[in-house]
Amino acid sequence: MSQDHVAIVFAEPDIAARRLPSATLEANFGDIHPPLDRHEARVAADRCLFCWDAPCVTACPTGIDIPLFIRQIAAGNPLVAAKTILDANIMGGMCARVCPTETLCEQACVREAAEGAPVKIGLLQRHATDALMESGRQPYRQGTPTGRNVAVVGAGPAGLSCAHKLATLGHEVTLYEAREKPAGLNEYGIAAYKTPNDFAAREAEFILGVGGIALKTGVALGRDITLETLRTEHDAVFLALGLSAVNALGLGEEALDGVEDAVAFIARLRQAKDPGEIAIGRRVVVIGGGMTAIDMATQARRLGAEDVTIVYRRGPESMAASRYEQELAQTNGVLIRHWLKPKALVAAGGRVTGVTFEYTQAQDGRLTGTGETLNLPCDQAFKAIGQAPGGFPALALEGGRIRVDAERRTSLAGVWAGGDCIAGGQDLTVAAVEDGKQAALSIDRALAARATA
């Protein structure tokens, strides 16, 4: 593929902050799904049929007892419901906001089969967990001390979940985090309007509130510490590193201004005190078909970009973003174009001014270019073509990610791993939480066995 930029002269790129009045920005980055009030929650809860061996529970990666917690809400007990949720999924609050329920629990809901309208499980889960957060209560306590100390590396959903479960089982935890703040992509990645009001930080604080977890931020495995040290200094190690690298387009984007990695942009946006500070192009092209592409494009529109196009190389059914997410982008005024793959970046004066795409087609399942091209002029281009594994210590990998068994054990004795960094995962918050929980239970069993051996 050619790495030369086609030199066509366009007008000066239009990239600016504060495209919209503050009040509009505030509304655009406020809660996208306002919570249910008490009455709405009762009506929604009443629709639950309390199924036997409920399909929604099976569909939830963390196996929350959904019919039970909904019944507890219906009976006027949201705090008890929250405990039911958090016992299975300590990030039940975040999951209620970010899970693609339309492909998980709510898809399995028998009401979906009966009426095409599932019980609002996600919103009910939020109703209960919000009530607990508002109450300020801490329902968990550190377990009876076992004298063991486990290292958890990475304080994202997988790491926090594992640390919390270990703490309740009585193990001391040292939680190493490369960044300044815990919560991983909850804090730096998830779309702003899904988790406003600093929820990621408040939830992390709640989780750490169990006690017995020493959080060490600004410490990176590989840079500041080695796996070998961790293995000798701790009784077990859990790796929850996420995916820190990003895939490259391979079109020489590194040399150009105006081409940015969507995940990095989103992290900047998430950390901005005021979204108005963030500059966005008038015309924006987003390359990719997953959740990141959707979030990037939608948030670009909500920042005031006039013309936002997602370009994906296959058809809508192949997009990693659910239909609901695709429609969310579309109702936000994003145009989604299919069957186009990036061929070259158009630049002027070291800045991107457009992207040339080649039309594609699927032939016997393989994607080929037709030779025909299309130019999309833009002020900014974002790549959202997937995060990539990277920076892992020396252990067995599979497709670049860490290989684990059903208990999340890696190839190295005493080292477990979970979340986005492992092979065969779903790249969802809820899946990372489940990995952390299962790893903690496995570590606990292993330490107990070691004690009796």
Partner: protein, 433 residues
């Protein structure tokens, strides 16, 4: 178009839907609104004897049982009879009857249990031009403690006595309104007939406590920290009322006695059910209080459409039609066998039928087939109890289908026979013969 008009004990009305004696019929203002809306008649809010009117509480007089969607499933009240002066009520009754001559105007009465009291009030009511009177022997709170209402209605001898006085002192038809707060409703109904009643009206409200406030540790809703029992009505009392109506309709001693049915009637279908079990008219209170008088449009249009479809030209064509099929348990056919059938195309896989039958009934519904979630009835275990059809959230997905031939795989008994308990070999009295 079906003819909805009725003549009930000689009282004529354009339709059988009357408003029960209660707040909707408390004064001319409400009653005129009801007539404008299309109600066939009213039973005026119960009048007491002349003198200072009774006093109601000025706190919550109603409590309700709500479904989660705030639908009112049941209503409780501690209101007494009218708290307006007798003279004003009588003047308004006369005026409304004059302005609406085609509508039924029944006046509900409750005065002390002495003949003089009834003798005094009856001519004054008659003078209003009202079509009839209803004796309120039902009110379960406030008045009963003063020896009126349910205190009379619970003693059949008193019912008979007061009814007789009224028949002696007025030419107007006398309806006797019965309290359901009694063990066997047939006794007060028989007493009313003995006393010469033209009709019985039932049910009045059922004594109730709506709930307990667990913070205040007091029954709910409270009046200044305390609460008394009240009277319960609305949709949830309908099954109780239907039974009582049906018992009176099929009792040989009261069979044929006109009945005005009350209790939870909300739609035309509720009304038609009461009428099929023997009611010549029906009365409504809670539904009007919850939804307003406009519900009359649904009641009349619904009943009329159904009658047209069934070919009933007038209301009398179907009143009492279901009574012959209302019987006692010992007359039911024990050789009749029905089995539950699950329509697999409609099944949404909730598993409620399985767990209900498994945990609490007869272990007659599978949970799995070829390693997959699958619910199917096992005929050799099913007793046809109907629990699964009740818990199934999908209409018509589970039905009870009678067996018409062969043997019941559960008992090995051939189907198609007809043995009641009276003929059954397991009945000791049959075996003794």
């Amino acid at each position: 178009m079906a003819d909805l008009s009725v003549s009930f004990c000689g009282v004529k009305a354009p339709n059988p839907f009357w408003l029960a004696s209660a707040p909707p019929t408390d004064k001319a203002y409400n009653v005129e609104r009801a007539f404008r809306a299309g109600w066939g008649g009213v039973v005026w809010k119960t009048l007491g004897e002349d003198g200072p009117p009774i006093v109601n509480v000025s706190g919550p007089r109603y409590g309700a049982w709500h479904g989660p969607d705030r639908r009112v499933l049941g209503l409780n009240n501690i209101e007494l009879i009218t708290d307006r002066p007798l003279e004003i009520n009588l003047r308004e009754i006369a005026q409304v009857k004059r302005d609406w001559p085609d509508r039924a105007m029944i006046v509900s009465l409750m005065v002390p249990c002495v003949e003089e009291a009834w003798k005094a009030i009856l001519p004054r009511v008659e003078a209003t031009g009202a079509d009839g009177i209803e004796l309120n022997f039902g009110c379960p709170h406030g008045m009963s403690e003063r020896g009126m209402g349910a205190a009379v209605g619970q003693v059949p001898d008193y019912i008979e006595m007061v009814t007789r006085w009224c028949k002696a002192h007025t030419r107007m038809p006398v309806f006797v309104k019965l309290t359901p707060n009694i063990t066997d409703i047939r006794f007060p109904a028989r007493a009313a007939r003995q006393g010469g009643a033209d009709a019985v009206t039932l049910i009045n409200t059922i004594t109730s406590v709506m709930g307990v406030d667990l913070d205040a540790m007091a029954p709910w809703p409270p009046i200044d920290g305390q609460a008394s029992h009240g009277g319960y009505c609305g949709p949830s009392v309908k099954p109780i009322a239907l039974n009582m109506v049906g018992q009176i309709a099929r009792d040989p001693q009261t069979h044929g006695l006109p009945i005005s049915g009350i209790g939870g009637i909300t739609t035309w279908r509720d009304a038609a059910e009461f009428m099929a079990l023997g009611c010549g008219t029906v009365q409504v209170c809670t539904a009007a209080m919850v939804y307003g008088f406009k519900i009359i449009d649904e009641l009349t249009s619904g009943l009329s459409a159904w009658m047209d479809e069934k070919g009933y030209a007038s209301v009398s064509d179907f009143v009492g039609r279901a009574v012959p099929r209302f019987t006692e348990w010992q007359h039911l056919n024990l050789d009749y066998v029905a089995k539950a059938r699950i329509d697999q195309d409609l099944c949404i896989q909730c598993g409620r039928c399985h767990i209900a039958c498994e945990d609490t009934s007869h272990q007659a519904i599978t949970r799995e087939k070829d390693g997959k979630r699958h619910f199917e009835v096992i005929d050799a275990e099913c007793v046809g109890c109907n629990l699964c059809t009740i818990v199934c959230p999908v209409e018509d997905c589970i039905t009870l289908v009678p067996l018409t031939e062969g043997v019941d795989p559960r008992t090995g008994t051939p189907v198609g026979g007809r043995r009641t308990w009276m003929e059954h070999p397991n009945n000791p009295s049959v075996a003794a013969e």
